[in-house]
Symmetry: C2
Subunit: 224 residues, 2 copies
């Protein structure tokens, strides 16, 4: 695995369960390129703890007294924007997965993952990946195939650059007048561009255009 200057990966864990902290300590003590540099049962001194421990990867439980793991990640992100944080949780709660990822967590795995997996996940999250359970990933895919009929033939709409500019602003909810202003062109030019856009997208209202654009684009940007 890729290591920083041949030094073992510095790991830190926040978990209120002694057993969990102990097992992870044991696991990491038998793993060559990893080192548990600190371990805490709550996030009371989160920022200071992290500053002192200088970890390469943070393991964070979700259900903890005082400050829960999700808020902890948010707090962490105010100081350490790129520090890899992996959530550890006992069960797969969709709401919490969602909230964690939104808060800025880089991965989300179950505590009952087998030992090899945990080591692998830590490596992955350190090297820029985002380990998540296949069940979560599956939800993304389902959404895909659901939306597919309309958008994902990936029709190249062949919008010109200017048309894309206009469409982008349209998606932000701007009116013709404001778009004209922001692009320094006349209202009638905007009108003209939008006419073309509607032709190319096969729609005939802002609603449809925005809808088609976002759902297409969002999904595409996920993977391209």
């Amino acid at each position: 695995m890729t290591l920083k200057n041949n030094q073992p990966l510095r790991i830190i864990i926040f978990d209120d369960n002694n057993n969990v902290r102990d097992s992870i300590a044991l696991l990491l003590s038998t793993t060559d390129n990893m080192q548990l540099v600190a371990s805490f049962e709550n996030c009371k001194n989160l920022i200071a703890d992290v500053e002192n421990a200088r970890p390469d990867v943070v393991l964070m439980d979700i259900d903890m007294p005082l400050l829960n793991g999700i808020d902890a990640v948010k707090l962490l992100r105010t100081k350490f924007t790129d520090l890899p944080v992996m959530m550890l949780t006992g069960f797969e709660d969709d709401e919490k997965v969602f909230a964690s990822l939104c808060a800025g967590a880089n991965g989300y795995i179950l505590k009952n993952s087998n030992i090899d997996s945990l080591i692998q996940y830590i490596n992955e999250v350190y090297s820029g990946g985002a380990p998540m359970t296949p069940v979560i990933a599956r939800k993304v895919l389902n959404q895909f195939t659901k939306l597919q009929p309309a958008q994902l033939k990936n029709e190249e709409y062949n919008l010109s650059n200017r048309e894309k500019d206009v469409l982008q602003l349209l998606v932000k909810g701007k009116s013709y007048k404001i778009i004209a202003d922001e692009l320094n062109i006349s209202y009638e030019t905007v009108h003209s561009h939008i006419r073309k856009i509607y032709q190319k997208l096969h729609v005939n209202s802002v609603g449809e255009a925005v809808s088609k654009t976002i759902s297409g684009n969002l999904l595409r940007t996920f993977f391209i």
Copy 2:
């Protein structure tokens, strides 16, 4: 691992590379609960082959002569809507990942994954997961955090049921008149609902409303 009636998982592979087919055959021959029931170097008789082999999981290469793996998945999906298909590929090409998943693949992994992983991935795809590389998954997360500031505070807009109905149609690009028609209410009622919706969402045009709704909702439906 979960098995169907204690029978080993029936695996089938399509790959034009003899070495790959051989290594996978070897790997699976040493794996208790899996069985390679057939192996083909192209998808010439895809449907027939699958019908005969009755696999539980299909492993599909992408670059193949005659019919490439992506089109093969599409074809497969016309007959076997739920059959787990995992793409196997030598390299991580974003476009192809995207195209495969759109075509209906359930997972996407690299051939150079280690042996244990492959076995695990097969199990996961069979049991309803969607194994994908952490790098792909990371892209999803990045998109998340990008969109977060605007939408994902997950403000409860407290829309009433009727308002949600109307908003949903608005998102589909329907006009007031058509919405009125579809919900069997008067134009003025639609008008009235939309006024309320705009208030609650803090917007004042279809564009904004649709935008706010979709980007919020799409992401949410991925994970909740």
